[in-house]
């Protein structure tokens, strides 16, 4: 690693730079720790490049501005935390129905409600997935560190465009607000991840334009041409398509980092900032002679089922550290058979999960 040049950077700057480099030209948001840093960067940077950045009167207005701007051709972005996600949620359903490419960062903090403002958490993993009426699938990516915050943000914009869908970046207070030294090359060099195709699944978004084709965007059930319909057959086909456009392409969206130890019977599976404690714990366990595998999940939703199952050969126990009461563990439970023991390492007390706790869970 050429690590002579290191950048001092936090997650907020990495995410803002990722968005700008992805071609984002419209941002609207409302201040909330730990997402305000992203708002500040975007509002300062966008006008420099001819884009638009504004602070809405609330999160509802902010996401509403984004959706409107997207229909006239903008590449849009907003960021908040759990409380803001509550206010976004009705409009997330609208974005799904209108098929708006919309990138949303949720920088998680410990709830419920205002909670322990401001401590790190991973309590909104299910909330992001299920916050829309109807339970339609969305895409959720979760970076474990600052370079990944940059690269996954860029990827989120590609996915949003391809699937014409809301795409979340699920991060947290620790990653967004901690300044770290990072090898400059890691911020620049794209990770070795499979490319996301450019062409959209289905029709590309057709923005309003003077002398363009007339377009109707509506949150009501509509035909493929945008006309309101109450025809049950048309509605059924449309709604199935909304679900399938994402669920039938799980493999394309799936992004994980397996670190498998041949012969290991324990797999530690984690995501977000907690995956870093996992990495530290696994390294220490291995250095004391233990055989243990690790799996970092970057694409939390849709669940990368195949990629997870691929890592379970010979595994008798899965340890799942996460800063909530076991939100992802329940998903893994759904995938695995009863021969595999599932062990949660969970914290909701403002502290990060430590490598020691994971090692303790390992030694059981």
């Amino acid at each position: 690693m050429n690590n002579n040049r290191r950048e001092m950077v936090d997650g907020a700057a990495a995410i803002a730079r990722g968005a700008l480099d992805a071609g984002c030209d419209f941002y609207a948001g409302y201040p909330i720790t730990p997402a305000s840093g992203i708002l500040t960067h975007m509002l300062r940077e966008l006008p420099k490049v001819g884009g638009i950045g504004l602070q809405g009167e609330d999160e509802i207005s902010s996401i509403g501005h984004c959706i409107g701007a997207a229909t006239s051709g903008a590449t849009v972005f907003t960021a908040s935390s759990g409380p803001g996600l509550s206010l976004y949620s009705e409009n997330i359903g609208l974005a799904i129905m209108m098929e708006i490419p919309l990138v949303i960062t949720i920088s998680q903090r410990l709830g419920p409600s205002t909670g322990a403002a401001t401590a790190s958490a991973q309590g909104d993993i299910q909330f992001m997935r299920w916050c829309n009426s109807g339970g339609y699938p969305v895409i959720v990516l979760s970076p474990t560190n600052i370079p990944e915050s940059y690269h996954l943000t860029k990827r989120a914009f590609k996915l949003a465009k391809r699937f014409r869908s809301p795409v979340f970046i699920a991060t947290d207070k620790e990653t967004v607000m901690t300044t770290e030294s990072v090898a400059e090359t890691e911020m620049i060099d794209a990770p070795d991840w499979p490319e996301i195709p450019d062409e959209p699944v289905g029709k590309p978004l057709d923005p309003y334009q003077v002398n363009g084709t007339i377009h109707h965007y509506t949150g009501s059930s509509h035909t493929e041409e945008g006309h309101i319909t109450k025809d049950p057959d048309i509605i059924a086909v449309f709604n199935e398509r909304l679900k399938n456009k994402i669920e039938s392409r799980v493999d394309e969206i799936s992004l994980v980092k397996p670190d498998l130890d041949i012969g290991a019977e324990t797999l530690v599976l984690s995501y977000g900032v907690t995956a870093r404690s996992m990495e530290a714990a696994v390294a220490q366990l291995r250095s004391s002679g233990e055989k243990v595998s690790a799996l970092t999940v970057f694409s939390l939703w849709p669940i990368p089922e195949k990629k997870i199952l691929d890592c379970l050969k010979g595994i008798k126990r899965i340890i799942i550290p996460e800063m909530n009461h076991g939100q992802y563990r329940h998903e893994i439970q759904r995938l695995t058979n009863s021969d595999i023991d599932l062990v949660g390492v969970n914290r909701v007390d403002t502290f990060l999960i430590t490598p020691e706790e994971i090692m303790e869970a390992y030694h059981g």
């Binding site: 720790t33 770290e180 003077v210 509506t218």
Partner: protein
């Protein structure tokens, strides 16, 4: 009057309207179509953004672009559409119900003076959901939700937009012959425009309250809410103001990262976790940044967290720095190797951490803070005598200097280089002066 492009902007294949007989909504849509014709607009130049409610059924009757979103939020979408493509003429059709649930958006769009035209279909109740009372329902009205008469003062929608700075504000009725003209003026105003159009919901409000056209006009008089143009200003629209911001911002440099190149070396062979705990205003976080940057300049890896109360100018201020020969994975600190107590607020805040420390760990304390409840070795911050005068203003950078000397994590030169590379020249000069006390 411009050359007509179309005879009507109504999508005639979708007629007749679904509205109840006598409902005013159809009249206003007709006036809008006439106005578009009078303005000679191409249908692709116009986006009609409808709210929810009976008024929200309107988008499908137009041959223009259309957008039908959520209840109360129409103005937010319209504003986004216009911001991104100023060539479009954006018209919002919203009910009195939408102006209630989305009142915040209405008054803020007026304040921003965003260039959209809002037509309020004000029929004094929620038509679509069964005639419940809305923000404009007159006092004493009978509705399903005010069965003994409403007791809330009605909201003056036009008045609200007016006092909040909306550029073009008018009040009309669905029966006004000049409504198409008024709509054209509103649409051509460069800034926020709103017409509060009073009208009749024949299914509910009219029948329950014996409120016909005559009664409506009488009510208007009794409330002193005159019709016609109420306000027209030449305050610049959001679009105009933001162009200036873009021009000014365009001259600034884009954001770039702070890159530090390794210049020094270090013998550190395992991670060290340091907590600086002081009070607001003592520049504790900045001292944490200096330590992290100096370590980075010395080939080490670092993370720096900050914790302070929401009321940032009072209370504690804590910086947690991890310095390591390998990239930092876990950036938390449950038990510091070194804690520096700079002020009582910080000492109290990290009491849990100092309590967890062991004999091999060290607490350095400023004057009067030497009795932490901890097994750690506790040592005073023994600043050089010459530095005493700096204590009030620059104790944190002194602490950074002191730690650098005591712990030998990296050369003292690295700390000075960090000051030069990451701090603004004026501050750097002060801090280099402070650090010089360690070299006398």
């Amino acid at each position: 009057m411009a050359e007509p492009v179309l005879d009507t902007y109504i999508a005639e294949e979708n007629l007749p309207y679904e509205f109840c007989p006598g409902c005013s909504h159809g009249k206003v849509l007709g006036a809008l179509s006439d106005s578009l014709k009078q303005q000679g607009l191409d249908p692709t130049e116009v986006v009609i953004v409808t709210d929810i409610g009976c008024v929200g059924l309107s988008d499908k009757y137009f041959v223009t672009h259309a957008f039908h979103g959520l209840h109360g939020r129409a103005i937010t979408y319209a504003s986004g559409i216009k911001m991104q493509n100023p060539a479009l003429k954006v018209v919002v059709l919203i009910g009195d119900g939408g102006c209630g649930i989305g009142g915040h958006h209405l008054l803020n769009a007026a304040r921003m003076n965003t260039d959209v035209a809002v037509l309020v279909f004000n029929n004094f109740n929620f038509g679509m959901t069964g005639g419940q009372h809305s923000v404009t329902t007159p006092m004493d009205s009978i509705t399903p939700t005010t069965s003994l008469g409403s007791t809330d003062a009605p909201m003056d929608i036009a008045g609200t937009a007016k006092v909040n700075g909306g550029g073009f504000i008018a009040r009309s009725t669905a029966f006004d012959k000049d409504l198409p003209d008024m709509i054209a003026k509103a649409m051509n105003h460069d800034g926020f425009s709103l017409i509060d159009i009073w009208e009749l919901c024949t299914a509910y409000y009219v029948v329950r309250n014996d409120f016909g056209r005559k009664e409506m006009m009488g009510y208007m008089d009794s409330m002193n809410m005159e019709s016609g143009l109420l306000q027209e200003t030449d305050r610049p629209s959001f679009q105009t103001s933001y162009k200036h911001i873009q021009t000014q911002a365009g001259e600034q440099k884009p954001m770039s990262g702070l890159v530090l190149e390794t210049k020094f070396s270090s013998d550190l062979d395992k991670p060290i976790r340091i907590v600086l705990a002081g009070a607001a205003g003592q520049k504790v976080v900045s001292a944490g940044n200096l330590l992290a940057s100096a370590a980075t300049l010395s080939g080490l890896w670092t993370s720096r967290r900050a914790d302070f109360p929401i009321t940032i100018q009072t209370g504690f201020s804590v910086a947690e720095v991890v310095i390591s020969p390998e990239p930092v994975l876990y950036s938390g600190i449950m038990k510091p190797d070194v804690a520096v107590l700079i002020a009582p607020e910080g000492k109290a805040k990290i009491a849990r951490l100092t309590k967890a420390m062991e004999e091999t760990d060290t607490v350095y304390y400023a004057d009067g803070l030497g009795d932490a409840d901890s097994d750690a070795t506790q040592l005073p911050l023994n600043f050089p005598d010459s530095a005493k005068k700096e204590l009030r203003k620059n104790i944190s950078v002194l602490a950074a200097g002191y730690l650098t000397k005591q712990l030998s994590l990296f050369p003292f030169e690295a700390l000075k280089e960090a000051v030069r590379q990451i701090q603004k020249p004026k501050i750097a000069e002060i801090n280099l002066g402070v650090l010089a006390h360690f070299e006398d």
